[in-house]
């Protein structure tokens, strides 16, 4: 597991825990909304928390399509590379 993947997973888990929801092991195909249960506000919290931790926000200039946990991890891994 890459460091970025670990960071993304940890932040997603924290968002779930902070709102009283149980955490689940996350796989690439898990849909952020349908499977993991993240609302648009939850995703905003994930994005800001990752910006505070990693110093990057791939959503700043445009909003890419991110449907699954794997999409989210790939987005941040690509952003870190560039």
């Amino acid at each position: 597991m890459t460091e970025i993947r670990q960071s993304v997973e940890a932040v997603v888990h924290r968002v779930l825990l902070d709102s009283g929801r149980a955490t689940i092991p996350l796989s690439d195909d898990d849909e952020l909304a349908q499977t993991i249960g993240l609302s648009s506000l939850d995703i905003a919290v994930v994005v800001v928390a990752l910006e505070q931790q990693l110093g990057i926000d791939p959503f700043r200039e445009n909003v890419p399509t991110v449907r699954t946990f794997g999409d989210l991890v790939t987005l941040y891994e690509d952003a870190v590379k560039h």
Binding site: D18, L41, A44, V45, V48, A49, E51, Q52
Partner: protein, 245 residues
């Protein structure tokens, strides 16, 4: 006092913004502000060693989106959190719309609307992670009551009130309240251009018989920041001595 708050007051070097900065610092809060140029008031605050840990200032043009973003991040970096944003910065170009330059129109859009949106966006991001926060837009009675010579300014203030209502709906579930205060005409730099007859007309139309000043707005801000306003969001509170009723 309960725990001091960390509060951004945009445009805090003069007028109502200055009054709010003074009031909130006097109450023991941590205050951050910016303005285009550093005034004597700001210089005095920055010279006070007691305030070094509680006051943060930067000089930049509110039309500069990059500076707005980095300012909010710098405030969070210095104080570790952001409890409230008072969106006060504004520009008013007075005159018939038919004679208003596109440059002046764009400036009012950039400062009164876009800067407000960007500050609310950047502040709300931090508040979402915190799970708490308070945003107060400084609107104006002219957002709801027409006034000759202030058409573009009025439109921008009406825009802030729309922002207030929708943002309140958007953020309420995360413990973030968004309200607006709409002052009437105040004895500040922005009303210096009023003629004697205009001032008399305003006073005649005001049930409470005077023009307000910045100190009339502070108590309303205090209330909206306080736990007493915990069940109030999406509202516009008018403070104008009744002139608009």
């Amino acid at each position: 006092m309960s725990q001091p708050l960390v509060i951004i007051v945009s445009g805090g070097s003069r007028g109502l913004g200055r009054s709010l900065v003074e009031r909130l610092l006097g109450q023991g809060h941590c205050v951050a502000t910016f303005s285009r140029t550093q005034t004597e008031f700001i210089e005095q605050l920055m010279a006070e060693s007691d305030l070094e840990k509680r006051f943060h200032y930067e000089a930049f043009n509110a039309a500069d989106v990059v500076s707005l973003r980095s300012f909010v991040q710098a405030v969070h970096g210095k104080f570790g959190r952001l409890d409230a944003l008072i969106n006060n910065v504004a520009i008013a170009h007075d005159g018939l719309l038919a004679m208003t330059s596109e440059t002046d129109i764009q400036q009012m859009l950039d400062v009164n609307l876009r800067a407000t949106f960007v500050l609310a966006k950047e502040s709300s991001r931090l508040m979402l992670v915190q799970g708490a926060g308070c945003i107060i837009q400084i609107s104006s009675v002219v957002a709801q009551v027409g006034y000759r010579g202030l058409s573009v300014y009025s439109a921008t203030k009406a825009g802030l009130e729309g922002l207030t209502r929708s943002l309140a709906r958007e953020l309420g579930s995360r413990g973030i309240r968004v309200n607006a205060v709409a002052p009437g005409f105040l004895e500040t730099d922005m009303s210096e251009g009023l003629s004697d007859s205009q001032r008399e007309q305003i006073i005649r139309r005001t049930p409470l018989g005077r023009i307000g000043d910045a100190s009339d707005i502070g108590p309303c801000i205090d209330f909206l920041l306080s736990p007493g306003a915990d069940f109030i969001t999406g509202q516009v509170i008018t403070v104008d001595g009744g002139a608009s009723v």
